[in-house]
Symmetry: C2
Subunit: 376 residues, 2 copies
């Protein structure tokens, strides 16, 4: 006797994971990583006030969280100068992307993203049977015009773009984003993933009416706020679309500790400003490490620096593998030509120094292992 049949769509999906967690690798290695620089977590940690709020909430966690997430939504609305009706809070941007795709995508519906952009969005689109169309990056940037053109050609229902960009760390100025929204094809909803916006140069976030009907912006407490393991993200959009999430979201899915921690983090903007300063210093430090080894650090508007190793994907993969064996967790873009790079999250000096120590041997090991393929 076999298990009951899955739906045809579910049966067609692989049992895959968008990202292998560092713990999986640690179990294989038999020891923890020395430096955890692969998942764009904030090694600077969350606000002490957020930690205190979470610890207090831990003793109240026998209660479900407020399913309306009222207090956090009100605070977010005040912070962004919009109404609570413009805000949707969910289980990280990952969770919210899943709900949004479910609301909008029937099997076969076209969706546009960049070739090499966030895999978890692709995971959700595939999971609901959507058809992905991918525009290549232009250099190290997502290509607004190519994305718009592709959306128009394919009749895309969704267009995904992250600004600042993951995995390259690049960004477009606010005006480019505003221009994109103004030029969306009829019937295309733009998903503007601003997970890293708190770390971008001032003014990178475009000023766009939150009631704009063809735009949904995603924010998170996972990056600058240092709360990746808490799972709180939010979206800002037209109230009608925001309300539609109530049709299918896990209404009690954002728990009590999560709501308390996110609210306290939001209220500690002074701490956030300090993180921005530390991130900027760490950017300089990692960029200097890269240049020391004749590598090219890309400009970063995020909490990571993407380093162009100057060779191909095989070389970057070999370097990453050697770093991994040396106890340094980093990741890298998945597709060419972005995969000539590795991506190093930012953190305090000890982690960056560990990366610095391990890098030369990793580069040498990669060169040695691939030397015969490189003709030179």
């Amino acid at each position: 006797m076999k298990i009951s049949a899955l739906t045809p769509l579910a049966a067609s999906l692989p049992s895959t994971v968008p990202f292998v967690g560092p713990e999986t690798t640690e179990r294989r290695l038999g020891h923890p990583f020395t430096a955890r620089l692969g998942a764009n977590e904030s090694l600077f940690g969350p606000s002490p006030k957020a930690i205190a709020a979470m610890q207090k909430a831990a003793s109240e966690v026998w209660m479900y969280g407020d399913p309306e997430i009222f207090d956090l939504k009100a605070a977010l609305a005040a912070h962004h100068g919009c109404r609570a009706e413009n805000i949707v809070v969910g289980e990280g941007i990952d969770g919210l992307l899943g709900y949004l795709v479910r609301l909008m995508i029937s099997p076969g519906d076209p969706v546009v993203t960049s070739l090499g952009a966030y895999p978890t969005f692709n995971f959700h689109v595939a999971g609901y049977g959507g058809t992905l169309h991918r525009a290549p990056y232009r250099g190290d940037h997502e290509d607004p015009q190519a994305l718009l053109d592709l959306a128009r050609q394919t009749g895309a229902r969704l267009l995904y773009l992250s600004n600042p960009d993951n995995p390259m760390g690049s960004h477009h100025p606010a005006a480019v984003m505003a221009e994109m929204v103004a030029n969306l094809p009829e019937g295309t909803l733009m998903l503007l993933d601003e997970a890293y916006i708190d770390l971008a140069p001032a003014g990178t976030a475009p000023q766009i009416d939150p009631d704009t009907p063809n735009l949904i912006r995603f924010r998170t407490f996972s990056k600058a706020h240092g709360l990746a393991g808490l799972r709180v993200g939010y979206a800002i959009t037209h109230p009608e679309l925001a309300l539609a999430f109530d049709k299918l979201r896990n209404h009690f899915g954002v728990g009590r500790i999560a709501q308390a921690g996110a609210l306290a983090a939001l209220q500690d903007q002074a701490y956030l400003a300090g993180v921005r300063t530390q991130v900027e210093q760490a950017r300089q430090r990692v960029s200097q490490i890269a240049r020391t080894h004749q590598l090219t650090p890309l400009g970063s508007a995020t909490n990571f620096v993407t380093i162009d190793l100057g060779r191909d994907g095989a070389f970057a993969r070999a370097t990453l593998a050697a770093l991994t064996e040396a106890g340094i967790f980093v990741r890298m873009p998945g597709v060419a030509p972005l995969d000539r790079c590795i991506r190093v999250s930012l953190g305090p000096e000890p982690a960056l120094a560990a990366f610095e120590r391990a890098l030369p041997a990793a580069l040498a090991a990669a060169a040695a292992s691939l030397g015969s393929h490189l003709g030179g």
Copy 2:
């Protein structure tokens, strides 16, 4: 300009909530409830060791949780005498029910449940376009034979049953559940929701091979373990079905504090035993309060006592409304004839005493407001 069109299925769904949270009512009342006895949360709270583990994890929450949830799954497998491959951990039973329905239900697929059983399951079935068929309760119990018959008649892909039952608090002995599983129609997967099993009489959980292909059992840390606001549930099923969840689950959805708290709670079985004792005492107390007012407490295998008020749904709703205004949060079954009852969660004496104090006036107010309709 309007927002982009939702899928036809999403457009057809109401922006509804399976349950209104007590915080929503508190905002309307303008003050907190005196006694929070409506959501079957554990007023006895979680293990102090779980609180300590969550507080420790709060300072590490800049890290994502392990997406494989390895340690918790291993501990659960050891606890249940199965393999980790039999276990799926997710964002509460609510989250897991959503994933399971998504894996199994295409629009129009038939699903069987009991008339008046868990609304959030129905929410998910409707959310994926399934067609719900409902068998009435037999007295205060879900009716295994009626459910099996209905599954056979409708060709149901899923059959949901909770044992012990919510909202009635009743239970079937293990042998009845085992017999049900043995007699499932070909092609029907049974969802056995055992959210309250830790509070049921010893032996209520049937001993069934976890590799049984047409059964999935759901457990939670929200009830006896007192971690409702943490959002951790799990399922035990055939490894092939368990693996299928990886096709679509939010892989990082169970965060770092959640995993730590659940693991520590699982490891403190002595605390759990103490909760069972306290729950049994509180059952006696609430039952005595009911009998004092010539009401009928139903037998309880859960952390709540359902009280038959002996009249109709209008009377119970009026009583509940009066209790609410008096600062006592309770809930009640949604459909007749179960809605002659109210459902009182169990907790320490102060909350039960507050219920006791408020009950007579609430009954009197209900009787007064409905007197003219009752012909008596």
